[in-house]
């Protein structure tokens, strides 16, 4: 509590301390705001994840030969690989000429490399130790957690972890994969902004009772001179409550975790217009520089993920080493959440998103002028606050 009062003395934080005690605070305490600077699927990179290698571009020549095309016809197609003729031959090969990315079940194909490793990022989302079916889940294999946790669920990683454009380097923890880094850059360039607010903090080491809000923001992220997302920017929270959630959480030994919650967020219209997260759990650690780093684990509607990729059809098949029918089959087989009451087919898939967030001032729309949150790492606190600690 003394710390809270100290904050009230600090530069520019006085207003934050005053309004920070408003409705959503779980208890009297400090409120901190964050702008998410990294939010992409966490695809662990180990040594034995993909024993058969990553996905490869289809052998078009073999496919076209199997289709009965002559060498001359195949040669003509390869002379114009971006032509509609090539696309037609490559994709419109369902039983009745359907586009196999639009109708992936019209072709039987299981040639998709899935992760065979034992380790993954993520959390135990179904609450079981072994992945046995429950009323809300289907039977699946568990991972050991990359952070030492046990019984981790991350079937999205199992499906996508050996995709050529989604597998990055071990040194960068997979974040440098083209299909990962590119999408995050779109967020950093201003496509979407996600915000986190933690209120009721007594200590960033241990607080039993905090409230965590996750919000869609309306301001583009501000890039700093070093290529990162600028800390301490002011961010406005979107008015539409469809794109936000608040949940109870706690901080233990500097790690913030939450109860499960559902959350919808608007996203990149090109690949996945909306996120629909179910039974999500936040697991992030307060860093010495005031930022957050960790994971956001949740079930997701797997069909929307698949269709988000499949709608890029030729791009996915020809240039991204994708395989619509095989990927579809893999998703369907690996999905582990929310079985359809009639068919028993699971409709969601467990996932884990790497999440970094930098300190930010958040402004709630209903409050008009006046910031809601504040943040400060130790070295930057004004003298009075530091001296009192």
């Amino acid at each position: 509590m003394r710390r809270i009062l100290d904050f009230g003395l600090t530069s520019g934080l006085a207003a934050a301390a005053l309004v920070g005690l408003s409705a959503t605070a779980a208890s009297a305490g400090e409120t901190r705001g964050f702008a998410i600077s990294w939010f992409q699927p966490a695809y662990y990179v180990g040594d034995d994840d993909c024993p058969n290698g990553v996905s490869k571009e289809r052998d078009w020549k073999a496919l076209f030969t199997a289709q009965g095309k002559t060498l001359e016809e195949i040669k003509a197609l390869f002379e114009h690989p971006l032509s509609k003729e090539f696309r037609h031959a490559a994709l419109e090969r369902g039983a009745h000429g359907e586009d196999i990315c639009a109708y992936p079940e019209t072709v039987h194909d299981t040639d998709w490399p899935t992760v065979q490793g034992k380790v993954s990022h993520g959390g135990n989302l179904d609450g079981t130790a072994d992945g046995k079916a429950t009323p809300k889940t289907c039977t699946h294999q568990k991972f050991a957690g990359a952070d030492g946790a046990s019984s981790v669920d991350n079937q999205l990683y199992r499906v996508m972890g050996c995709s050529k454009i989604h597998r990055g380097s071990k040194a960068k923890d997979g974040r440098d994969a083209f299909g990962i880094e590119y999408l995050n850059e779109r967020m950093r360039e201003g496509l979407v902004t996600y915000l986190i607010e933690v209120s009721g903090i007594d200590s960033i080491q241990n607080s039993d009772n905090v409230t965590v809000g996750i919000y869609q923001g309306t301001d583009p992220l501000v890039q700093d001179g070093a290529g990162g997302v600028q800390a301490d920017s002011t961010q406005h929270i979107a008015t539409d409550k469809r794109w936000q959630a608040t949940v109870h959480g706690r901080i233990k030994d500097g790690v913030l975790t939450t109860d499960p919650f559902d959350l919808d967020l608007r996203n990149d219209a090109v690949w996945l217009p909306e996120f629909h997260f179910k039974r999500a759990q936040l697991n992030v650690t307060f860093q010495p520089d005031g930022s957050l780093k960790g994971h956001f684990n949740a079930y997701q509607d797997w069909a929307s993920i698949f269709w988000g990729m499949a709608k890029t059809d030729f791009l996915l098949e020809k240039f991204s080493a994708g395989n619509c029918p095989a990927m579809y089959a893999a998703f369907k087989a690996m999905a582990d959440g929310d079985p359809d009451p009639k068919t028993g087919q699971c409709t969601t898939i467990s996932s884990s998103y790497g999440l970094d967030a930098v300190p930010a001032f958040l402004i709630h729309p209903q409050e008009g002028k006046g910031a809601k949150t504040a943040q400060s790492d130790q070295p930057n606190q004004p003298i009075k606050a530091a001296a009192a600690q």
């Binding site: 600090t10 530069s11 520019g12 001179g225 070093a226 910031a371 130790q378």
Partner: protein
């Protein structure tokens, strides 16, 4: 107006009695005046002039030679620069580009008061009308008959050769735009009939000095008319023009230009920071930082008519979202600026705690107590700090990772053990160390390398704590207000005050105090005085000159 002056004067008496700097009721002391100047117009002035005469949509593309800072001001440096062959090429290019826009189809209808008989042939009458009007504004005086005749002849010949009246005008206009009469503010003097034996600026030179001082641009039609009619040479006429000019929104431009010069903001254009150390640094941020200080100053000094001394202690400022990230305060506005008041007790108080000052006087990757202390001495107090000897070893101060010397104070203390360094550092470091709570970009911190920062400071005999403490000392030191008076006068005159103006400068300082340190009042005192327009004789009969600099503050030259 008379009443207002009387009221100010009465208010002055009480303060003067305390200060004993000048006797109440004493008239302004005699001033020798100084030599007339020939000043090159600056890039900003060039743009302002073109905007005033032809419209702000006229683009100016080209590179201007850098200005030179002398006696603390670029405005004084402009009296000592010329035009090099390469810069003449640039002026030529800029002039042709401007002239082409002025005569293009989009602008000619607005800017020409006449239509040629034929657009494809010379028309001397229309050319003379346009060139006389524009020349009057560009040269800041009417063209002589010979000048106008020559310009019309050029327009005629060019129109005939090019088959276009407007191209002919553009040719003549370009010549005027690269003429020394436009590019240089050449001051001319005449005998002063009110003070036999003394010289004063001519009315047009007076109008020019007045306009650039108050508005940072060329005289407008009303001021030129007052010069032409002789009104400007009468006290009443001058006061009428000064009243008008001080009441104009253009005063803000003039005040911004002055403080941009005094605070050395020209260096902002080349300011660089290590992005790994200061990732929040961007060119946009630095532009905002400069603007923040100018808005703080003009709001306090003009909009609120505040006490100049309070610029070192004010907690009222203006922020953009980018600046908010440095000061670590929320800024609600998404695009523009919003007012912000730092709370009592906050270390952000005064312009010396703003990003513009702190970042400008730091190294690319670290703060600098030495640069900041030197800047306080030289820029805010007008005190000269000697340059360091050439063989200084900076290894200790540059090693910010030294585990034994973790803070700037530790490193500078070790550095000062070198006898050649100690003399200067002892007068600048204790000032700069009080700003050590701000990193090299201006962000707040209370630790460096994990060690707590001791922001205790010292300026001459005064000891204080932190940036806010420094602000209070600057607020109270007479050197700060004397410095402003010196710089403002030098800025207007284009030269440092000379020996023969020493009593006049003391008088100005006393008047400034008596007026409650109000900038507009000080500007009024200067521009309504005879001294501001007094021109000294080139030299005395014994061969000595009066043009010797007067110390800007009691301390100057003694540090």
């Amino acid at each position: 107006m008379k009443l207002h002056l009387k009221r100010s004067f009465a208010a002055a008496c009480g303060a003067l009695a305390l200060l004993t700097l000048a006797s109440c009721g004493d008239p302004a002391p005699q001033s020798s005046g100084g030599p007339p100047t020939v000043r090159r117009v600056t890039k900003d002035q060039y743009a302002a002039i073109i905007g005033d005469i032809f419209g702000t949509d006229i683009k100016i593309e080209g590179r201007f030679d850098p200005d030179v800072r002398e006696s603390g001001l670029l405005a004084i440096g402009t009296s000592h620069v010329s035009v090099t062959p390469s810069s003449l090429e640039q002026y030529d290019s800029i002039a042709r580009f401007v002239a082409a826009q002025v005569v293009d189809e989009h602008h000619r209808a607005q800017l020409f008061g006449c239509k040629p008989a034929s657009p494809t042939a010379p028309d001397d009458a229309c050319a003379a009308q346009f060139l006389a009007e524009v020349g009057h504004q560009l040269y800041r005086r009417p063209l002589t008959g010979q000048e106008l005749k020559a310009q019309v002849a050029v327009a005629h010949e060019a129109a005939g050769t090019l088959g276009s009246f407007y191209d002919g005008i553009a040719t003549s206009l370009a010549i005027m735009l690269e003429s020394p009469r436009f590019l240089f503010r050449e001051e001319t003097a005449e005998p002063d009939p009110d003070h036999p034996g003394q010289m004063r600026l001519t009315a047009f030179a007076k109008a020019t000095r007045l306009s650039f001082f108050l508005w940072n641009t060329t005289p407008d039609d009303a001021l030129l008319a007052a010069a032409e009619s002789g009104e400007l040479n009468s006290k009443r006429g001058l006061t009428r023009q000064v009243d008008r000019m001080l009441a104009s929104p253009r005063l803000k431009s003039g005040v911004r230009a002055f403080f941009s010069d005094m605070l050395g903001f020209d260096a902002m254009a080349t300011l660089a920071k290590d992005p790994e150390v200061y990732p929040k640094f961007t060119p946009t941020l630095i532009g905002d930082a400069q603007e923040q200080t100018l808005q703080t100053l003009t709001d306090h000094l003009l909009a609120r008519n505040g006490d100049y001394r309070d610029v070192f202690t004010t907690r009222h400022t203006f922020l953009t979202p980018l600046l908010g990230a440095i000061y670590r305060v929320p800024v609600d506005t998404k695009t523009g600026w919003e007012a912000h008041d730092f709370p009592d007790g906050d270390q952000h108080a005064g312009i010396q705690t703003e990003v513009s000052f702190l970042a400008l006087h730091s190294h690319p990757g670290r703060s600098s107590s030495t640069l900041r202390g030197k800047a306080v001495r030289e820029i805010l107090l007008c005190q000269q700090v000697p340059t360091p000897p050439a063989n200084v070893n900076f290894a200790i101060v540059q090693d910010t990772k030294n585990v034994l010397l973790r803070t700037a104070r530790d490193r500078l203390t070790a550095h000062r053990t070198q006898p050649t360094c100690a003399g200067c550092h002892k007068i600048i470091d204790p000032i700069g160390l009080s700003l050590e709570n701000f990193d090299g970009l201006g962000g707040y911190r209370n630790q460096e390398n994990g060690a707590p920062i001791d922001a205790g400071g010292e300026l001459d005999a005064a000891r204080f704590e932190g940036a806010a403490g420094l602000g209070k000392v600057l607020h109270d030191t007479p050197a700060a207000t004397a410095c402003l008076v010196n710089r403002l006068y030098g800025y207007g005159a284009g030269r440092a005050p000379v020996t023969g103006e020493a009593e006049w400068m003391k008088y100005l300082q006393a008047q400034f105090a008596a007026q409650g340190y109000r900038l507009p009042d000080l500007m009024r005192t200067i521009v309504t005085s005879d001294a501001f327009y007094r021109i000294s004789a080139p030299s005395k009969p014994d061969g000595t000159t009066q043009a010797e600099s007067v110390p800007a503050s009691p301390k100057e030259g003694k540090s």
